[in-house]
Amino acid sequence: MFNKKELEEIAADNKRWQRIFKESVSKTPERLKRFSTVSGRPIQNLYTPLDLRDLDYSKDIGLPGQYPFTRGVQPSMYRGRLWTMRMFAGLGSARDTNKRFHLLVNEGQTGLSTAFDMPTLMGYDTDSPRSRGECGRCGVAIDTLKDMEILFEGLPIDRITTSMTINPPAAVLWAMYIAMAEKRGISRKVIGGTIQNDMLKEFIAQKTFMCPPEPSMRLITDTIEFGTNEVPRWNPISISGYHIREAGSTAVQELAFTLADGIAYVEAALKRGMDVDSFAPRLSFFFNSHLDFFEEIAKFRAARRIWAKIMKKRFKAQDPRSLWLRFHTQTAGCSLTAQQPYNNIIRTTLEALAAVLGGTQSLHTNSLDEVLALPTEEAATIALRTQQIIAEEVGIANTIDPLGGSYFLERLTNDMEEEAFAYITKIDEMGGMVAAIEKNYPQLEIADAAYQYQKQIDEKEKSVIGVNKYVTGEELPVEILQIEEELERNQIEWTNEVKSSRNNSKVKAALQRLGEAAQGDDNLMYPIVDAVKAYATEQEICDVFRTVFGVYRDPGVY
């Protein structure tokens, strides 16, 4: 961006300035022995054009909506349309969560996002012995299509998109959503939304399990193929770094492992015989926005650039939309503290700001009480208001990529891209992500980083306000959302009622067809949709997978 002569002058000036700086800190020493990011990346005292010596503006940064998309995927970005405000919500029964959805939509949220309880996430019904004590505790309990119908009652799903955080049984919950829409007379061609459906990061980090990696990849590829042919406005996968980061990874590990997972899914779809441009535009991503402001913004910008390069150079995609890395962001749950919980509002605000400056397409802001329990209505509303204030009061959505060109930010973006590519090459050499996971490679890399970080906090090398610094010992009372004791019993009774009113021979036949398809190569989405329409329960369907494909067990490495 600067010519040789300019750079020489800047270098000379900089050398002089570094001497002045050194003199100054010899009188007043620097605050810290080492300045570093949350991820442990060392940070210089100053960034100048010298850090961007080899940077070519048009080639490396470019313009919004143009390759390599460093400044954003759409040409108009937030000048056209703001990001989707999509609050992750789910609690108790389908009825309880439906009420919360209505509240959030009435308060101005622009997309829906569903949190399921643990049995639903793992493919068990509420009446399974493994589900004891878990019903509705960390999300909504869904056993059958009936629950899905209640969950979205009265919500305009022909206009508003829905995200569902669901992985091993993603195909089943998606089938329920499609069936629910069709019962309401809304075509599968019209509905829009996202299923998370990213099993590789489950093995790495979030750890809801059902079947081993190979058959999991088959199920995912079935959904990508089905989506491409049948549900064109749906994102059949949300390739997620969020949970990798929550498990304790560094920012670069989050970036690299997520994109390496993306490569594995693209390769699986290509192996199926699909054309890259038929499915790539519907691949979506999901990142964490952690506390280290500039590192996070750089991560989002680097992610777009890396993915565009991978899709163009490695997979020879032609459609520009295939090169787009569109992503949802959630602020970092693991950065919140149980101590002095009101401080969490400030942490979330700063993280949300980084996500917006990083060009996110959609955002969830955590509630201040999410470190303690599921959010109350009041706390969830404050979190939504946080986004609305950022969008409408502070002016940062007035121009596109306002921090682009910052010496510090561009240097960070370059460094993170380079480091992420080094990880991706290493994973390629291991035989790809599935092979790397089987060797526990990403799992142990993350465990190392998490342990290092915890030790830094214990040794006060990293500050956590209210935990290892400015501790008051006095806790502010925060109201906690309670899940009623009778919920589990009621849900079991309700599902039994559904089971006794359905046509059981129809269910049996549908499950048998599904089992046969699972043993062969047919796309499983069609028999799954038939089974949910007959009101087969989630577990009845997942038990077919577990029987045919086997069950994955946690290797328990630490």
């Binding site: 793992m122 493994r130 750890k207 399990f209 290892n468 906690i480």
Partner: protein, 135 residues
């Protein structure tokens, strides 16, 4: 020389909760403190945890839960230990718990509860002071 054997601890994740960052960090901290550590991995039923504890002849079980099912799962582990005549195995827990659940868990026989923000050194020191090798 009558040297006591090293403490043996079982770190366990009961129920369907997949949040294992804390459990795995604690397992490493115990290991670095010189304990013999057995980690069950995720998604264990109380029955499986108690079976592992008896089979591995541990002195303590550390239970980790962050998804809200602790009020059933933790007391169930203590109950099963009693049934199997292994009531001398100390049980403690860590994770996210509403304030009012903590006295209830202690009453149910969970000897100590650790909440977010507790330094590793404190968790290790508690074990050293409160758990003895059973034989």
């Amino acid at each position: 020389m009558n040297k006591k054997r090293r403490l043996r601890v079982l770190v366990a994740k009961p129920g369907l909760d997949g949040h294992d960052r804390g459990a795995r960090i604690i397992a490493r901290a115990y290991r670095d403190a010189g304990f013999e550590v057995v980690y069950t991995g995720l998604h264990q039923t109380p029955e499986e945890i108690v079976q592992a504890a008896i089979q591995e002849d541990v002195d303590m079980i550390g239970l980790s839960s962050l998804a809200g099912a602790h009020m059933y799962l933790f007391p169930r582990v203590v109950e099963l230990l009693k049934e199997r005549g292994a009531h001398d195995i100390v049980v403690c827990g860590g994770g996210i718990f509403p304030e009012e659940d903590i006295p209830k868990l202690k009453k149910a026989g969970i000897k100590e509860i650790f909440t977010p923000g507790t330094p590793l050194t404190e968790v290790v020191a508690w074990v050293e002071q409160n758990v003895e090798a059973r034989r």
